[in-house]
Amino acid sequence: MYEIISKKVLNKDVDLMQIKAPLVAKNAKPGHFIILRVDENGERIPLTITEVSDDLVTIIYQKLGFSTRLLGKLQVGDSISDFVGPLGKASHIVNEHKIIGVAGGVGAAPLFPQLKEYKRLGKHVTLVIGARSKEHIILLDDYKEFCDEIYIATDNGSLGQKGFVTDVLQTLYQTHTYDHAIAIGPLVMMKSTVELNKKHGIKTDVSLNPIMIDGTGMCGNCRVSIGGKTFFACVDGPDFPGEEVDFDELIARQSYYKDEEHICNLGLE
């Protein structure tokens, strides 16, 4: 069992938890993720490692469906059944100077360790962060501690520019140039960011989130098409060059169990 050491409600949909997991913490690097099961009947769900300190692993999760909502019901002192990692390949840190990170919704969590790593290496770091509303913007204060520039977009205009992150980017690109981009968020957001960046000649790394089971390369559930070839996101990713990702295929794969997820959620009401 893995104990919840601290919990912070970041907004109505998103929580942060620190879990005691020495063997996950031991070799974790930015870009790695974990798979957890809340209880002994639980689904295996993947979440990015946002931070590590000593034996403690920080995760930030959006209460989207059954398992993440179930997790959200737990409190400090409770334990979760399984917690395994670090999984995946650590992020590929490129040797470019002006880095722009684009975060959509809870994507701000997985982006956090990557941008921080770029700053640690002395790069110029810009953040474009977007969410539905002001309340849904997470980690802003933590980002403020190290980012050189921050731009905000909300769907309803309650904070920053009204619109999507791509709207902010479009404005930004009229006056600024960047060497390299990282986009993490919902698939549609990553897809449109990559398309826009391509027009401006900026390469974009994306972090893919297909449905996973084992996370060890055993089942093939997490397969994604990258440049016409098949990769397993759990062992070959989750980060891939955005230009080569077949987003439409992935969007279809991710929503294959929509009806079933709905049935599960009814059980929680």
Partner: protein, 460 residues
Amino acid sequence: MIIKDKVKMPVLNKKIRQTNFEEVACGYDIELAKLEAKRCLDCKNPKCIAACPVQVPIPEFIKLILEDKLDEAYYKIYEDNILPAICGRVCPQEKQCEGACIVGIKGDSVSIGALERFIGDYALDNDLSKNETIIEKNIKVAVIGSGPAGLSASASLRRLGYDVTVYEALHDFGGVLKYGIPDFRLPKNIVTTEINKLRTMGVKFEKNVIIGKSITIDQLLNEYNYQSIFLGTGAGLPSSLKIKGENFSGVYYANEFLTRVNLMKSHTFPKNPTPVKVGDNVAVVGGGNVAMDAARTAKRLGAKNVFILYRRDMDALPARLEEIHHAIEEGIDFRLLKNPVELIGDKYIVKQVKCEIMELGEPDKSGRRRPIGTNKYEIIDIDSCIISIGQLPNPILRESTDKLDVDDWGRIKTNVHMTSIDGVFAGGDVVSGAATVILAMGAGKEAAVEMDKYIQSKKQ
């Protein structure tokens, strides 16, 4: 006197089987077991033993059944095979022990597997375990992976007095025995009970640890002070058909499909929250045990039509004979000499499979007649497709471990069970590629002997 016909094992009614995951083959009771045991001729030169990968003393244990010495029969088997209840159920007996049995020349061979299972079950039911005094060596060894190879290595090492820790990546122990082979062939409580026996012996089990990621091999040797390591990480990586449309939704690799059902229990959805869906028409590609398991599982999940698409003919199916019989009984539709060439979808969801119709030509390297394309095609409407055409080792260990030599297929290279890293041994599917439970167990046991020799030689 030779009794030509074997004593048939009772099986679950076909109708009941359609919808449930209860074990199909019900096993002998003592009367039936004795009747069958009588058929063994107690050969002077028993061919059956030579054909068993771990040389179980077959006529000896069969004789003990006739003498009502069931405890002794169990201990007899246990010396060579710690998991008789499992091997009795899943060994491809017709290719191994039973395939070589003398009685089989003129009639049915002695049902060695069924008898071995009978003894294994007897031991489980009566909580038999051999009282062995273990003389502690206080030397730490690690076993990576809790499949048959790892379990057998850890039992052997523990009996030699080592302090054994098994590390498993998943949240449950048993490898393919848990996540691959379905309940209707191998009830999971058998695997759990056998693992608990090893715990009682003093073997330590750690789940949720991925060696190469959570802890590296280097760290195990240098920080954790393991004197030797056994790698039994299996062959989990599914092989792909390399055809168009393989990534459409509704296309599963057998591993995903079977893991959802066996490990995550998705057949009880939504009680267990991991879903699975197959639809009415399911194509299963392949002809081995994995394909049979996938097909029979799909049927139990409610599929109306399940087709096995296999590119050779019935005689060439690599699956265990018993599974093929049960699959036929359950209404699985064998569409032979069909080779899928494309999966056709709509909005990224699979709808059809296009197959080339094959013919058999001259025998190939495997001795089986080679399938040749005819340039004629057939299109079948499907709701899902399960690909079961083989597995290779996953890349985690080799990518995270410098100096671990592997061949072109990613299988770990060994020399008398030792890998290219001093003190690190390997066995089972990770060395051989996808094979069998008993071969993996045999490899684990032999590797344990070599690990012991290695550790002893280092002490001198």
